[in-house]
């Protein structure tokens, strides 16, 4: 089972993603409510993939992405973005994000993205 870390400041979003993942044979090994905690947990948990919200306090998703990619050049990070955040998504791609999910998302979008990124 692939191990996923969910990083988002909204508990609602974390639960939404978690529900989808757990129903579909992914293991949610951790959650983080901002980029800083996200990087910390990445180090601790070494997940197979990270879902990363873009807008967060303390440290944004983009900065956390950069940190994680610096620590692990093979890190699979999928950004979670809203419409209107195109420039941040672009920066994320440039900085190594494997793909992105756009809110509000449907279950099959999330699954397709994660499966593709993980080569499943």
């Amino acid at each position: 089972m692939k191990r996923v870390l969910i990083v988002d400041d909204a508990a609602f979003m974390r639960m939404a993603i978690k529900n989808i993942l757990q129903k579909n044979n992914f293991e949610v090994v951790g959650e983080a409510e901002n980029g800083l905690v996200g990087v910390k947990k990445y180090l601790e948990l070494q997940p197979d993939l990270v879902t990363m919200d873009i807008t967060m306090p303390e440290m944004t998703g983009l900065d956390a992405l950069k940190q994680i990619r610096k620590l692990d050049s093979n890190a699979n990070v999928v950004m979670v973005s809203a419409m209107g955040q195109e420039s941040m998504v672009k920066d994320s791609i440039i900085n190594g994000a494997k793909s992105f999910i756009v809110k509000p998302f449907k279950e099959d979008h999330v699954l397709q993205t994660l499966n593709k990124v993980l080569g499943l």
Partner: protein, 737 residues
């Protein structure tokens, strides 16, 4: 109209988070308004809150809320980016608070399983108008208009010239066949020896995947390391969001010169998420109508450019928000630890728990306490006289008690959340009535059972409205009286035994006894000669239904349904309202509420074969009366003399219609109980002993059949028998007017 949702737990968390965000936003806005400035942090926080609410509401399909949140997010995005000078904070605050109120109302509807059917149109118009206003004031100096350029599809689609087509290479779909492959060589060695080939690719993305231009860019980015040169169309995918639409309709075209094989290229591109269709072939043998220019006109972009762009972006601005060092390859764990310690409030090691689950837990623990007593107090077991058993049962008792204390403490919630809501009331009322009022608070960390806290919020709000509306005079009058022009209201909470006191003081005009009596007289509410009434009794008249001394009913208070509802709410949780006032100087309202409804220290008594429990806090003393002290008053009510004072007697067996009891006063026992300032003596057969009991409400079918005066609930005693808990206030009211 009730609505059901598929996923109750998602709904719960949505409601919880949204409510919290809205409350926090309210505080930030009011604070900013008071300080006269919307600072960078405040703007950022509000933006994030709106962004989060927009996201969650969109997922839950609450479109009204999403729309308002989105519009407000736009405003705060603009404020964040442009930092314009806002001169009219008052208008902005009002507008934003209106938005918050709208969303609060909708969330409340959702909470009550009603449809969130509010109409956001007016509010959206006002918000957009405000945004337009601040946009134009900022843009007068700028060259561009604030509107993004509309991308006409013609611009980004290059003209097709139609190459001569010799279809030979196979068309490769996402599941198609491969072309005959050139011998594979590992890319590492002698890249220069390997021949560079030109390929064309056309990509279509799945419907509805959004941001197709960025997905296309993702492909470009990924292929950069493989490519000697690349060209793609539409070209301006990074600059123009409108290219997403172009790609949706016409696909994305890519020309690449690379030493990679077609298979490698295909495999690489097929990793793209939401790829619907890939057409890949050698560039000199086009399989499809090219949209872009003739091959000769292609300006190859050396892939180096892409690599450079990536490196530039990566090193450019990564220092800004982080507290972590960028030198070296790794961030030490300790550095992260210390950076992480400062977590935002509300994301500490706390979890939110469904109150129903807590109630369930409390119930179970209550039953455990009873079951434990039934085992350890069992006469047959006690007869064994075993030391081992005694030891074990003491241990069990200790653990059970600790468990009970812990569960009780979990339900305790500080009053601060309730108190903080009052700021909004004060702000709104002061604005509307044009009175300057300041609210001081103390003791808000005092904790109260969660069930009770919800019941005092409304009464408290009403009392504060009253204080500002009726109590605090307007500025002119205050100055005339020699008072400070700013009115002061203070809210204080403190523990007092097994109760919590919430004291609300104002320095307004105070209550006028004459006016109160006059109104009571006019409404026929007086039951006692006026001169016999104590101050306290006079003030308490305002708690009666249908009472009001304000000449007109204002928007906020004075309809005469307020104070009596306050009193009733308090009584229902076993509390009371206490009023004190000094005419001309101010009024003090004291709300007394029990710490918890769940457990009381009780004295068990027997009347016939029935058991009753009296809350210890209500008992003054108990005694066996002497016949000579008992007498009757002129109305034939039984009384007893205690230390020179006469107290009414209430025979329990008569009130509750119990037979086979003691009837001679000297043969039973009198228990003097008090409620507020009423004291009576209850006549029972015997005292059974003191015990901590878990209060259970009377079952619904009993309560609904008949209102039984004098009963507050029931409990199970250690021997398994049921005991009815007495409502002293109700009983005392029978005898004392």
């Amino acid at each position: 109209m009730p609505v059901t949702y598929e996923n109750e737990s998602m709904l719960e968390i949505y409601i919880f988070e949204a409510s919290q965000s809205l409350d926090q936003m309210e505080q930030i806005i009011m604070k900013s308004e008071r300080e006269g400035t919307f600072g960078e942090e405040a703007v950022n926080e509000i933006f994030r809150f709106m962004h989060t609410i927009k996201g969650s509401s969109a997922m839950m399909m609450f479109h009204n809320i999403t729309t308002i949140a989105h519009t407000m997010e736009d405003i705060f995005f603009f404020l964040r980016e442009k930092r314009p000078q806002i001169l009219d904070y008052s208008t902005l605050s009002d507008l934003v608070l209106d938005g918050v109120d709208f969303m609060k109302v909708e969330v409340n509807k959702i909470k009550n399983h009603d449809a969130p059917d509010g109409n956001p149109e007016d509010l959206v118009m006002r918000l957009k108008a405000y945004l337009d206003e601040i946009l134009t004031t900022v843009n007068t100096g700028e060259d561009k208009a604030a509107e993004p350029e509309t991308v006409s599809e013609k611009d980004s689609v290059c003209e097709s010239e139609g190459l001569e087509v010799q279809p030979s290479a196979a068309v490769l779909d996402s599941g198609g066949e491969g072309a005959p492959e050139p011998p594979l060589k590992p890319r590492k060695d002698s890249k220069k020896k390997k021949s560079v080939q030109s390929y064309k690719a056309k990509l279509y993305f799945q419907d509805g995947c959004e941001m197709e231009h960025l997905r296309a860019y993702g492909v470009v980015h990924d292929l950069t390391e493989l490519a000697e040169e690349m060209f793609y169309c539409p070209q301006n995918i990074l600059e123009e969001d409108g290219t997403a639409e172009t790609i949706r309709n016409q696909g994305f075209e890519l020309f690449i010169r690379t030493t990679a094989t077609m298979e490698e290229l295909q495999a690489r591109i097929e990793k793209t998420v939401f790829l619907e269709q890939l057409i890949l072939g050698h560039a000199d043998q086009p399989e499809f109508e090219p949209h872009c220019m003739h091959q000769d006109d292609i300006h190859w972009i050396p892939a180096v450019t892409e690599k450079e762009a990536r490196e530039n972006a990566a090193s450019g601005n990564s220092v800004s928000d982080t507290q972590l060092p960028l030198n070296g390859n790794s961030v030490s764990d300790t550095q992260l630890q210390s950076a992480v310690k400062e977590q935002p409030a509300g994301s500490q090691s706390m979890i939110s728990v469904n109150v129903e689950k807590l109630d369930g837990l409390m119930n179970l623990v209550g039953e455990l306490v009873i079951a434990e007593a039934m085992v350890t107090q069992n006469p047959e077991v006690l007869a064994l006289e075993s030391d081992q058993f005694q030891k074990a049962s003491r241990q069990l008792h200790k653990i059970t008690t600790d468990l009970q204390d812990m569960v009780m403490s979990i339900r305790m919630v500080p009053l601060s959340t309730t108190f903080i809501k009052m700021h909004r009331i004060v702000r709104d009322m002061s604005k509307k009535l044009n009175k300057q009022v300041v609210l001081d608070m103390a003791g808000e960390e005092t904790e109260v059972d969660k069930n009770i806290i919800e019941r005092i919020s409304d009464p408290l709000m009403h009392l504060i409205r009253n204080a500002i509306d009726h109590g605090i005079e307007d500025e002119a009058e205050r100055l005339e009286k020699g008072k400070d022009k700013i009115g002061r209201i203070s809210l204080e909470a403190k523990n007092a035994g097994s109760d919590v006191l919430i004291i609300l003081r104002d320095d307004g005009r105070g209550l006028s006894k004459e006016k109160i009596l006059a109104k009571a007289r006019a409404n026929g509410l007086l039951t006692k000669p006026e001169h016999e009434m104590s101050d306290r009794e006079i003030y308490n008249l305002i708690l009666l239904p249908g009472f009001s001394t304000k000449e007109q009913v204002t928007e906020f208070s004075g309809r005469g349904v307020g104070m009596d509802v306050v009193a009733k709410n308090l009584e229902e949780v076993g509390g009371a309202v206490h009023i004190e006032s000094a005419y001309g100087q101010g009024t003090t309202m004291t709300l007394k509420i029990p710490l918890t409804l769940a457990i009381i220290e009780g004295m068990n008594i027997r009347v016939g074969s029935s058991r009753f429990t009296i809350p210890i806090t209500s008992i003054k003393e108990s005694f066996k009366p002497a016949a000579k002290d008992c007498h009757k008053d002129p109305d034939h009510n039984e009384m007893v003399m205690v230390r020179g004072k006469s107290y009414p007697i209430l025979r329990m067996h008569q009130h509750f219609h119990i037979e086979k009891t003691e009837t001679v006063l000297a043969d039973g026992i009198l228990i003097m109980v008090e409620d507020e300032d009423k004291e009576i003596c209850l006549f029972a057969d015997e005292l059974l002993g003191q015990q901590q009991v878990v209060v259970k409400a009377l079952p619904h079918y009993i309560k609904s059949m008949k209102k039984i005066l004098g009963l507050a609930g029931c409990t199970l005693l250690g021997d398994g028998s049921i005991s009815l808990i007495l409502d002293v206030s109700g009983l005392a009211g029978l005898r004392v007017r």
